[in-house]
Symmetry: C2
Subunit: 581 residues, 2 copies
């Protein structure tokens, strides 16, 4: 056992001579999982958790819901206390203890507390310092009305501002936490504007799905400003003014800063532990460049499971699991499982909607140089004849060469979490798109369809892969309008609700008898078919292609097209008009 | 193209010379999926669907919900009609057409209609005749008050009996359809008794989970009689009397017969197509022993994906997918995917509960001679601090040698369908129990936990596989009480609500300081630990085993033990008393 220089808090129990001392820096997700697992593996180890904040093991993912009063009592967010962890797991948990340096040669950390500093030796050191809110270069960001949402104190403070009468809020950043904060504040009756620098809210989500989230935010009364940055916060007596790059000025009683996070790694990088763009570099067992030093969680670089891209993945689930595996590697060296590469699966509730993603999105695939095909589906979450059936909106990316499932996203009122979890399992298991057909998912009318949404994705995708189905995309509309005949195969009623100008209208049920009309209108051009969701146009495509036409079916149909146009319209690009009846 | 002898319904459109004629016997799940896929692959094929009933493509899984009035309008159950299928897919669908013989040499079927009989030649024949209700040897089963629940007419008739004032019902058979029928009738205010020959309701479910379903049925006002057969139905003027083997007599205004199904295969077996215990034998592409004859759905023998056991699997999902793949094999021979072996995934809603299963259960594993270990978990479906958190009850079977996940079951109020679908995907993907730790499932507080229930199953299971955790089971209680010290590690409050006589009580938080008491009480005997759900007892097990005790932790804790005892009590086995406070 290493020798501590001074320990202001005496140990309650003496450890046997030669016991391993494991020092863990950070007592929330990854750190605390590591500590708990270490104790279960080794009763004799001395396990010291150093947390610079006031709380350990708190529910950081629950913070927005305290602001929104769905979790009324802040104490509910404190899942464990140092006392409960001592009692159950004999952990030596010290809050208000900040590590300010690591001496990797002497195997010792420097610890700062309100009562002074001391050195603490370790046999194994686990760095789980997490991340802190990114502070963009916005003038006036130090206004007391600007808060992040990272700690229980943050949540209590934000909630207090609302309790005290805050009526107008600006949320800077429309990522997962920003959306949760906006929803929570709107739920409390606050007038919320959410500002996002990227082209749309929830940047990891594809734009055609993000548009549905934008619509839901608007239905909650939230003002959405995407594609614009905030440039300054002008403090005032009664309120601040948030100034946007386009000159918009928004009054705000409070501002939530949620534009992202960056690893808390300066201390460790300065101590000589290898970092990459500010995140700690670790191997598959969480080992850093320094002997006897491991790291987990938001502060480390991960290698994306699908693309191989290296980036920090600040998510609770992977952090918890990595913490556990680091304990295994410390106490059972040579036998521990590798820490899984993350898929980046994430989910958010926005009003009545769920939005979720797993695996790679278009941007990541483009960055990685992967050729892929995209599927759009709008299946029902359960049998259409059973009460409460509602559409989900799914996007699935498939490797163009191998057919591997690379990524999936979904938005809908019900059942999205289930399908994304199934698809996350499929991606982790290296399933090909056709394998999704074979998944034996639980079906009865309240829960699914005999051909579940995931099975349908497999069917559509395998049709695409083997050439049975050829797709065109909403993004290609301008080009398609120039070069091809648009054939709308919806019913007359649907067509009358709005359609693309210049399109030929033949309901899919009449197509076989009216192929001559198609031939005449096409004049040798390709035919690009569409319907509401892509099902009927796929049937029509099969009719056309077997009749000798150069045909393709609009992926996701008008539902996807409208969402994609909605986004474009928001950015003042060319917007083909839908012709009203 | 083969030549039909006579066709009473003339073809609406002439087919080109040489077009393939595909004749499909049965127009519901597998048959209709085959027909639809065949048309999408081949515009020129002649596709004839012969359905002996009055409807095709009806929602057979929705029938109980019409009885229960959740689906008010019976027309909602008619998903497609011959007319809609002609319009969309140019299918020649003929209801009221029963195939009475197959001439496999001449490639022709004999068809009986109300207007006469005719022969119809085929180039490819697909048998999707489905199954019919098993009729056990019960006297009086031909009473007009006895109904099955297989067709729209059945559902309308049962509903009519309730509308007309039926007050008392007996449901014979507590499988999936029997439970749905019982729930539906109870929902309508009918006094329902459900009778099941097997030891518990939902025989595919493990008894400790089935007990929870029994409790839910009782809370719906349903009387549950398991482990007893019906021997006679005595018709009366105003009502029938159902007589059970134990002499119980139950008045019934209506009786639902739902003791299982058997394949409708007599005609085909008589035509020389190979069958095995009444079900049609097919290869991995659905090909029967006869040239150019395929079969799918409830009428065929399947090979269980986990156990290799051969049995018909009467489920809609696999039937639909097999129908699609048979069309591929007919029209794209040599390139079609193999029909997946079924996992038998199934789900049922019973009141506020969901019960679901995938893969093998104990009985199937025993039959197949597989050595396995069983895990019991009671995780929350989402974060405990978020409103609405509720426990799920999961059972997972793991191969004792390889660690492969073999089967999983769940019962709970929320989130069970998601976990069973994830586990079904894991089993299909041949994941090992430890791989479940690595699944990157979507987490935010309304949807899950940072360590999802499935991740937890992986953690518990891998601890069991590598010896970190040793389990004992509720079924072994009698032996354990004789040979070991029972150590109850719950809190004093929990202990006071009821505990096993003779157990030593030490809360897990005090165990490290009171090991001497355990040593004294054990007197050299093994220590068998328990808590409420198996989490704290696992921690205690680690403490004990590292202190040199022969220790094991009760799988699933008192929650599982109580459910298991409940079942035993129902069968008059020895029931250890829980000592009240």
């Amino acid at each position: 056992m290493s020798t501590a220089a001074t320990t202001p808090e005496p140990r309650e129990q003496a450890r046997p001579e030669g016991a391993t001392r494991i020092v863990i820096v950070g007592g929330v997700a990854g750190g605390m999982s590591c500590a708990a697992r270490a104790r279960r593996l080794d009763e004799s180890a001395e396990i010291v958790v150093l947390e610079r904040g006031a709380h350990v093991s708190f529910a950081n993912c629950g913070l927005p819901y305290h602001v929104g009063d769905e979790i009324h009592d802040a104490d509910r967010l404190l899942v464990q206390t140092p006392q409960s962890l001592r009692a159950a797991l004999d952990l030596d948990v010290r809050t208000g203890h900040e590590v300010t340096a690591v001496d990797v040669e002497r195997q010792s950390v420097r610890v700062q507390t309100s009562e002074g500093a001391f050195d603490l030796g370790y046999d194994a050191l686990v760095l789980a310092p997490g991340a802190r809110a990114t502070r963009p270069p916005i003038e006036g960001l130090d206004s007391p009305r600007v808060r992040t949402l990272r700690t229980v104190e943050d949540a209590v403070a934000l909630r207090g501002l609302v309790d005290d009468g805050a009526r107008r809020a600006v949320v800077l950043g429309a990522g997962f936490i920003g959306l949760e904060a906006a929803e929570a504040l709107a739920h409390r009756g606050v007038d919320v504007t959410i500002v996002e620098l990227a082209a749309h809210v929830l940047p990891p989500l594809e734009h055609e799905l993000a548009h549905l989230v934008t619509q839901e935010l608007r239905s909650l009364g939230v003002t959405v400003r995407a594609g614009v940055s905030a440039t300054a916060i002008e403090p005032g007596d009664d309120q601040d003014v948030v100034v946007l790059a386009d000159g918009t000025r928004i009054d705000a009683d409070l501002v939530v800063l949620s534009v992202g996070v960056r690893p808390n790694t300066e201390v460790f990088e300065a101590s000589g532990i290898e970092c990459e763009r500010g995140a700690i570099v670790v191997d598959e067992h969480g080992r850093t460049s320094a002997d006897k030093v491991w790291a987990v969680g938001d502060a480390v670089v991960s290698t994306d499971a699908v693309t191989g891209l290296r980036r920090p993945v600040p998510l609770a689930g992977p952090a918890n699991r990595a913490g556990r595996l680091v304990a295994d590697d410390i106490l059972r060296p040579g036998t521990a499982r590798a820490i899984p590469t993350p898929l980046g699966t994430a989910i958010v509730r926005v009003g009545a909607l769920t939005a979720a993603t797993t695996g790679a999105n278009r941007a990541a695939l483009a960055l990685a140089g992967r050729a892929f095909r995209t599927l759009h589906l709008h299946p029902l979450q359960h049998a259409g004849y059973f009460p409460g059936a509602s559409q989900m909106h799914l996007v699935v990316h498939v490797d163009a060469d191998s057919g591997l499932v690379l990524g999936a996203q979904g938005v809908g009122h019900d059942g999205v979490d289930k399908r994304i979890d199934v698809l996350a399992t499929a991606i982790r298991s290296h399933l090909h798109i056709g394998d999704l057909i074979d998944l034996d998912l639980a079906y009865s009318p309240p829960y699914g369809q005999a051909k579940d949404a995931v099975n349908l994705a497999g069917m559509v995708g395998s049709n695409v892969m083997d050439g049975t189905l050829r797709l065109w995309y909403a993004e290609d509309l301008d080009q398609v309008r120039q070069e091809a005949l648009l054939l709308d195969t919806r019913t007359a009623q649907e067509y009358a609700t709005g359609h693309l100008p210049g399109s030929l209208h033949i309901p899919h049920t009449e197509l076989r008898g009216r192929l001559d009309e198609v031939r005449e209108a096409a004049q040798g051009r390709p035919v690009r078919v569409l319907c509401a969701s892509g099902v009927r146009s796929a049937i029509a495509h099969r009719v056309l292609t077997q009749a000798g036409f150069d045909s393709a079916s609009l992926s996701g149909g008008m539902l996807t097209l409208r969402a994609a146009l909605g986004d474009r319209a928001g950015h003042a690009l060319v917007t083909p008009e839908l012709v009203p009846a």
